[in-house]
C-alpha cells in the first residue's frame, strides 16, 4: 500500500469534525487552528475588471472545504492563481500565499505541484493519445527514468517503474478503471476522464488536492461514487478544496464552505449554516431578491433615494476596507 493510504486522520471521525467546525469562526477570512493554505491579498485584474480580490483566506488541514459562488465569481481564476497557472496583478505588491509553511509567491505551476498541492481542471485534461496507464504513471514524482541521461539505461529505472505501475493499478482499481488500463484515454467517457484525472493527481501523493468542478458533466450514479472517493481521500488525511456549483453536493460532503462573489470572499461557515447567511443569499439572488418589482410604491422618489443611499453606503464601506488594507 502506498503511504497515503496508511496515514489515517483524526478528521475521519465525523464527531471530531463537527467539534472542530463548531470552534471555527464563521467570518470571511477567519483564522484556522491548523491552516495548510494561507492566502493574503491576491488580486487579479483583467483590464479594468477585477476578477479576484481576496484579502485573506485560510484553509484548514484535513477537512473538505468547498469554494462556491455564482458564475463569474472568480473561483477558477482564484484556483489558477494559487496553483501557479496565472500570476496575480498584485504580485510584488503584497500578494502572499503559503502552502504547508512554504512560501509560494513566485513559484511555477510545477513546483506548486511538487510541494504537494495538486489540482484538476474544469475541462478535463486527459492525455487522449496515451493509454490510461501511461496517463497514471506520468503522475508519479521523482522518477529516475525521467532524467534524460538515466532514461537510456533500462536497469536504472526498471524497479521504480514496476513500483509505480503497481501503485497505478491499485488506484485504477479503486476508481474502477482497471479494465480500461490499456485503452487510450481519448476513448473514455467524460465521467471516466474525470475519474482518471483525479486518480492521476493522486499518483503524486499530494497533501492537498484541488478539484475544479469535479462533478460537472458527470451522471448522477457516477457522482455518488466520486463523492465517496473524495470523502475517502479526506479520511486518509488529505486536505480537499473544491469548486462546485451543485449545492446538494456541497451540502453533502463539505465540512466547511467559503463563498466568493464578484471576486471577493463574502462568507465562510459550516456547510449547513452558510446557506442562510444573508451575504450568500445576496450573492446568489441579489440584495433585493425579496422585493416585488411590480410594486408601484417602489417608484416613489423616497424609495429611489433610499436605494441610492444604500448603494453609496456600500461603496463607501468597500472603499474604507480597501484603504484599511492598503495601510496594513
Amino acid at each position: 500500500m502506498s503511504e497515503h493510504t496508511i496515514t489515517t486522520n483524526d478528521m475521519a471521525d465525523p464527531a471530531a469534525r463537527t467539534a472542530l467546525v463548531a470552534t471555527l469562526d464563521a467570518t470571511p477570512g477567519a483564522s484556522k487552528p491548523d491552516p495548510i493554505l494561507v492566502v493574503d491579498h491576491i488580486v487579479r485584474q483583467f483590464g479594468g475588471m477585477t476578477a479576484v480580490d481576496v484579502g485573506h483566506l485560510e484553509v484548514q488541514r484535513g477537512i473538505i472545504t468547498a469554494l462556491i459562488g455564482p458564475n463569474g465569481a472568480g473561483k477558477t481564476t482564484f484556483f489558477n492563481l494559487i496553483t501557479g497557472f496565472d500570476k496575480p496583478t498584485s504580485a510584488k505588491q503584497g500578494a502572499h500565499w503559503s502552502f504547508d509553511g512554504r512560501k509560494l509567491d513566485k513559484t511555477s505551476a510545477s513546483s506548486v505541484a511538487q510541494a504537494g498541492m495538486v489540482r484538476t481542471f474544469q475541462l478535463t485534461k486527459a492525455l487522449s493519445r496515451m493509454t490510461v496507464i501511461e496517463n497514471m504513471m506520468l503522475g508519479a514524482q521523482n522518477q529516475a527514468g525521467e532524467n534524460l541521461f538515466k532514461s537510456m539505461f533500462h536497469g536504472v529505472w526498471r524497479a521504480q517503474e514496476r513500483e509505480i505501475e503497481a501503485k497505478a493499478d491499485e488506484l485504477l482499481a479503486r476508481f474502477k478503471l482497471l479494465e480500461k488500463k490499456h485503452d487510450y484515454a481519448g476513448s473514455l467517457s467524460g465521467g471516466q476522464r474525470k475519474l482518471l484525472e483525479m486518480a492521476r493527481a493522486l499518483m503524486s501523493d499530494p497533501k492537498m488536492i484541488m478539484l475544479d468542478e469535479p462533478m460537472a458533466g458527470v451522471n448522477p450514479a457516477l457522482t455518488q461514487s466520486l463523492l465517496g472517493h473524495i470523502q475517502t481521500l479526506r479520511d486518509e488525511g488529505m486536505t480537499v478544496l473544491f469548486v462546485e456549483h451543485d449545492m446538494h453536493v456541497v451540502r453533502h460532503i463539505s465540512d466547511w464552505v467559503a463563498v466568493m462573489a464578484e471576486g471577493r470572499l463574502v462568507a465562510e461557515g459550516a456547510a449547513d449554516t452558510v446557506m442562510s447567511n444573508p451575504a450568500v443569499i445576496d450573492a446568489y439572488l441579489g440584495a433585493h431578491h425579496d422585493t416585488d418589482l411590480g410594486d408601484d410604491a417602489l417608484l416613489t422618489d423616497e424609495a429611489l433615494e433610499e436605494i441610492e443611499a444604500e448603494v453609496a453606503a456600500e461603496e463607501a464601506e468597500r472603499q474604507a476596507e480597501e484603504e484599511a488594507e492598503g495601510l496594513r
Binding site: 496553483t83 497557472f85 511555477s108 505551476a109 510545477s110 513546483s111 506548486v112 505541484a113 511538487q114 495538486v118 489540482r119 484538476t120 481542471f121 485534461k125 486527459a126 492525455l127 487522449s128 493519445r129 496515451m130 501511461e134 504513471m137 506520468l138 503522475g139 514524482q141 522518477q143 529516475a144 527514468g145 525521467e146 532524467n147 534524460l148 532514461s151 537510456m152 533500462h154 529505472w157 517503474e161 487510450y184 481519448g186 476513448s187 492521476r200 493527481a201 499518483m203 503524486s204
Partner: protein, 391 residues
C-alpha cells in the same frame, strides 16, 4: 528490360547514398521534435548547416577532426538554446516562426562575402579542404568493389527470366514482411521478431543481388562514407528507441498532448521541451556533417527546401515511430529519383526535357505528400489508434 533495370539501379544508388542517410538522421531528430514532443521546428536545415560548418571550418583551419565534430555539435546546442529560451514558454507557433527565420538567417550569414575566410561565402567550402582526416580513417583500402560481387549477372548471364524471378521473390519477401509485422501470420513475441528479421535480411541481400552497386572503396564518395553514414543511422535509431520507451519518452508524449496537465503534475515542461529541442538539433547537426562529407559545404544546399524534404520523409514514414524516419527517407529519395528517371526514359524530350523531369519529380512528390496526409495521416508505420482522438 534494360531501361527498367537502369531506373531501378538508379533508385538503388540514390537510396544508398550518404545524402539519404544524412537526411534520415536529420529526420530522426525532427521526429523527436514533431512526432514525440509536438515541437514545430521548421529550421532543421539550420541545425544541419551549423553542424556542417562547425566541422568543415574547424578542420579547414587545421583543428583535429574530433574537435571539429565537437564544434559542430556545440554550435547546434547553442542554436537550440538561443531558439528555445524565448519561445518554448509561448505557444507552439512561435517556435515555428522563429526556427524558420533563424535557419534562413544562418544561411544568409553563411553566404555573406564578409565571411569568405570562414564559410567560403556562396561558393562554400570545397570538400577537399576538410574531407582528408575522415577518409584517412578508412580501413576499406583503395580500389573499388561492387556489392555484391556475386549478382544476377553471374546467373545465366543476367537473363531476363532471372531478373523477373528475382523481382517477384523480392516483392513476395516484402509482402511477407508486412504480413508478419502486422501480426496476421499468427506469430507473436520472439517468433514474430525473428521472422521479421529473417525476411528483412533476405530482402536486403536480394536487393543487392538484383541491383549491384559499384563504388570506390574509400574515395570521395565511396563505400567508406556510406558505411559510416548508415552505421550512424542505425546507432541513432537505437538511441531514439532507448529514449522513447523510457519514462522520459512518456514525458515527451505527455507534453505533446497537454502541457498544462503535465505542469499540474509537477513536471518542469520548459526543461523537457528544451531537452527535446537540443537532442533533436544534435541529430540534425550530425546529419549535416554527413551531408557535406562527400560534397561541399554550401549554405544553399541546406535551405528551406531541405527542411521540407525532412518533413515529407517524416510524414511518409510516420511521425512518432522508431523506424518511420529511416523508411520515409529511403522512400522519399528512392521514389523521387525513380520518377525522374522514368519520366526521362519514357516521356519524349519534345514534351519534357531533362531539366523538366527534375522539376516534375518534385511535383509528384508534393502531390504524393498531400495524398498521404489526406488518406494516411499516420504515415506508413504510424499507429492509427494514436491519431484517431484528435480533440
Amino acid at each position: 528490360m534494360d531501361t527498367i533495370q537502369g531506373i531501378l539501379n538508379g533508385m538503388m544508388r540514390e537510396t544508398l547514398s550518404p545524402q539519404t542517410a544524412a537526411v534520415a538522421i536529420a529526420v530522426i531528430g525532427l521526429n523527436i521534435h514533431l512526432g514525440f514532443t509536438g515541437l514545430l521546428n521548421f529550421g532543421q536545415a539550420g541545425f544541419m548547416l551549423l553542424g556542417a560548418y562547425g566541422m568543415a571550418i574547424s578542420v579547414w583551419h587545421g583543428l583535429p577532426f574530433a574537435v571539429g565534430i565537437l564544434f559542430g555539435l556545440g554550435a547546434a546546442l547553442i542554436f537550440a538554446l538561443v531558439l528555445g529560451v524565448p519561445t518554448l514558454k509561448l505557444r507552439g507557433d512561435y517556435l515555428a516562426i522563429v526556427t524558420i527565420s533563424a535557419a534562413e538567417i544562418l544561411r544568409y550569414v553563411g553566404r555573406s562575402s564578409l565571411l569568405s575566410d570562414f564559410t567560403g561565402a556562396a561558393q562554400g567550402i570545397p570538400g577537399s579542404q576538410y574531407r582528408t582526416p575522415f577518409t584517412s580513417l578508412s580501413f576499406f583500402g583503395n580500389g573499388s568493389f561492387t556489392l555484391w560481387p556475386f549478382n544476377y549477372l553471374d546467373v545465366a548471364g543476367g537473363a531476363a527470366w532471372v531478373r523477373i524471378l528475382g523481382w517477384i521473390v523480392l516483392v513476395a519477401l516484402i509482402v511477407g514482411l508486412v504480413y508478419v509485422l502486422r501480426g496476421k501470420a499468427g506469430l507473436a513475441g520472439g517468433a514474430k521478431v525473428g521472422a521479421a528479421v529473417v525476411l528483412g535480411v533476405l530482402a536486403v541481400l536480394l536487393v543487392f543481388f538484383l541491383f549491384p552497386v559499384p563504388n570506390q572503396s574509400t574515395g570521395v564518395n565511396g563505400w567508406w562514407v556510406r558505411f559510416v553514414a548508415w552505421t550512424i543511422v542505425a546507432i541513432c535509431t537505437f538511441l531514439v528507441f532507448l529514449l522513447v520507451r523510457s519514462p522520459w519518452g512518456r514525458l515527451l508524449r505527455g507534453v505533446r498532448e497537454d502541457e498544462d496537465a503535465i505542469r499540474s503534475l509537477g513536471k518542469n515542461v520548459f526543461s523537457i521541451k528544451m531537452q527535446a529541442l537540443i537532442i533533436g538539433g544534435l541529430f540534425g547537426a550530425i546529419g549535416g556533417m554527413i551531408y557535406v562529407l562527400p560534397s561541399s559545404t554550401q549554405p544553399d544546399s541546406m535551405g528551406r527546401s531541405l527542411t521540407f524534404f525532412c518533413y515529407t520523409a517524416l510524414l511518409i514514414g510516420g511521425a512518432a515511430t522508431i523506424f518511420g524516419p529511416v523508411l520515409g527517407a529511403l522512400i522519399f529519395f528512392g521514389c523521387r529519383i525513380g520518377i525522374k528517371y522514368t519520366a526521362s526514359a519514357y516521356i519524349p524530350d519534345s514534351v519534357m526535357n531533362a531539366q523538366q523531369t527534375e522539376q516534375f519529380s518534385y511535383i509528384v512528390v508534393g502531390v504524393a505528400l498531400m495524398l498521404i496526409v489526406i488518406f494516411r495521416p499516420q504515415g506508413i508505420l504510424g499507429n492509427k489508434r494514436e491519431l484517431r482522438f484528435d480533440v
